[in-house]
Amino acid sequence: MPRVLIVAYGNPLRCDDGIAWRAADALAPKVSASEVEILRLHQLTPELADTVRIFHAVIFVDAASCDRSQNKPGMIRLEEIRGGTSEPARFSHVLSPKKVLDLALQLYGASPSAFVITVAGKNFGHGDSLSAPVASALPELVARIEHLIKQSNP
């Protein structure tokens, strides 16, 4: 039974929004399927609460927008998150990582350790290629996820 879940989410047909799926592709051959499970999703839905509850650690991988977080394209940010601490929900069928953890805690009493790691994107237009700064950030993103896996799966 894998102990670590990687939730790579975004739209691979919207350029930099597909960075998480690229990272998942790069990670897959580097990790043991018996230790790490990788999910590629378009968005986070309530059903994910039922999945995350059985893992020791969950790592959410996503693209971030530059304008909102004042990131520079390609900048990687890591945040540790936990359930039971976030703001009221705005939607019923599309959730943030924190809300997934809230639901896992509320419904199942599950509280896996969890991280959100994001890469600031530059181009979210139609297409399946990454912008130059985001493509350059991919190796470091993968390395940092690998490091988190090692931390979470000693």
Binding site: H42, T45, P46, E47, A49, D50, P88, A89, R90, F91, S92, H93, K99, D102, L103, Q106, L107
Partner: protein, 476 residues
């Protein structure tokens, strides 16, 4: 001085896609007119032109993340017509399994994730609690059941199609891969839990209906026709058959209609205030030809479900009204009966030994230049109509999506609810929520019927005759 005003609800929340509602008030502050505007734009009919026809199922699946399977099926059926082939019996059955799984998960999303906050917490509940977290707080089992039932449908789709969203397993001529014994057994193993969830949710729903007497009498409770595809024996089906239309008294208006000739009896009208077309029954003209589709309509047009438990529930459902069941509030009830039917049908199909046959695809070159595919999507009747050239390239596409069929009825429903619940020049969240909740009964999928852009935000405005804002409520 008395003055006319307009209320704008923009966007409508807890539905699939983006829309707004405007309510027009008269000088006394009473609602005189209402409109449900779909504010997103779709372009699928145009962007497909020039593509090879065999790409269509995969392209069409991209129309929607909730019901891609219905688009796959309707599209593949249109392509079957272009090939002029009869698909292998096992492929037919597997497509049905795929469709039933999708109806189950889509109905579960609508009922549990989008509408159960209204049903469990009430229409006047705190908007910040009207979501799955509020449901989980008030009734944990209901929230868990919603998650499990939706997972059940999604996992079947994943087992058959390789992924939950936008699978490309349904192809012109059949399906691309047969069902394995292991996957068949895994699905069968999950059926009892799904059936138990459907049964207890239906019982729960029936137990709370009394609380919504006022909503039942005002949520789209008016005479219209109802349309749906039925089997040859007039039984419920999602995959294919003949079209049947009944009137508000339950009498058959038209029967044995060939879905491929839809253009003979279904008209489409464009309104300047919405990207969503309104369809109507041509013999009665626009707008008198208003009809409804989807769960309520299917249970009004079908004589039977054809499975034991669903038939018991259908009989009880028909006792709600001597005529056709008219209130759109009962879409929820009908949705739950359909979930029950889907699970029973899945069991029957998966226990058929032929379901594991390896003969799942007929191969041919195009033998016709025009093809129509139709099926019952979760929200109602779905048509895909393609024309190709001699090289097999798409030259023309027309799609009629379930939500479009319901457009006229949704508009009338909003007006009925607003007239009953919205008064004066002050707005309350409960008023506003009921206007949205009647739309949720139809479970419109605007991403399907148009194409999603923009961000969700709710804003209600009272606007005076000179354009001045008299009152405003906004949800960020």
């Amino acid at each position: 001085m008395k003055q006319e005003s307009t209320i704008v609800i923009d966007p409508v929340t807890r539905i699939e896609g983006h829309s707004k509602i405007t309510l027009h008030l008269n000088e006394d502050g009473r609602v005189e007119d209402a409109r449900f505007h779909v504010t997103q734009f779709r372009g699928f009919e145009k962007l497909c032109e020039g593509r090879p026809f065999y790409e269509m199922p995969s392209l069409m699946a991209r129309i929607c993340g909730i019901c891609p399977v219905s688009h796959l099926i309707a599209s593949a059926k249109a392509c079957d017509s272009l090939l002029a082939v009869r698909i292998p019996p096992t492929a037919d059955k597997l497509r049905r399994v795929f469709g039933l799984a999708q109806v189950t998960q889509s109905h579960a999303l609508s009922l549990f994730h989008l509408s159960s906050p209204d049903l469990l917490l009430g229409m006047d509940a705190d908007p910040t609690k009207s979501n799955i977290f509020g449901v989980a707080e008030a009734n944990k089992e209901l929230a868990l059941d919603g998650i499990r039932l939706r997972q059940f449908g999604q996992k079947i789709i994943e087992r058959l199609g390789g992924k939950r969203i936008h699978p490309a397993w349904v192809v012109p001529g059949g399906v691309s891969e047969p069902l394995t014994e292991a996957n068949r057994d895994a699905i069968l193993e999950a059926l009892p839990e799904a059936l138990a969830i459907a049964e207890r949710t239906l019982e729960w729903f029936k137990s709370i209906m009394e609380r919504f007497r006022e909503e039942i009498s005002t949520f789209g409770n008016f005479p219209t026709m109802f349309m749906g595809i039925v089997k040859k024996d007039n039984g419920l089906t999602f995959y294919g058959g003949k079209l049947r239309i009944v009137d508000a008294s339950g009498h058959v208006v038209a029967d044995d209609l060939d879905p491929t000739n839809y253009d003979d009896y279904i008209g489409e009208k464009v309104e300047p205030w919405s990207y969503l077309k309104s369809t109507y029954y041509k013999p009665k003209g626009f707008p008198d030809g208003v009809y409804r589709v989807g769960p309520l309509a299917r249970l009004n047009v079908a004589d039977r479900c054809g499975t034991p438990r669903a038939d018991q529930e259908l009989a009880e459902f028909h006792e709600l009204q001597r005529t056709a069941v008219l209130s759109s509030f009962h879409y929820h009830h009908a949705r739950l009966i359909e979930i029950l039917y889907c699970i029973e049908r899945l069991e029957s199909l998966l226990n058929d030994p032929e379901i594991l046959s390896k003969h799942v695809r007929a191969v041919a070159r195009p033998n016709a230049l025009e093809g129509v595919g139709a099926c019952e999507a979760p929200r109602g009747t779905l048509f895909h109509h393609y024309k190709i050239d001699e090289q097999g390239l798409i030259r023309w596409v027309n799609l009629i999506i379930a939500t479009g069929h319901n457009n006229l009825a949704m508009n009338r429903s909003v007006l009925q609810v607003a007239k009953h619940f919205v008064h004066g020049r002050r707005l309350t969240p409960g008023m506003l929520n009921r206007v949205e909740a009647v739309i949720r009964c139809y479970d419109p999928c605007l991403s399907c019927s148009t194409h999603a852009v923009g961000q969700m935000r709710l804003q209600v405005q009272l606007i005076g005759p000179e354009g001045e804002v008299l009152d405003e409520v906004a949800r960020a």
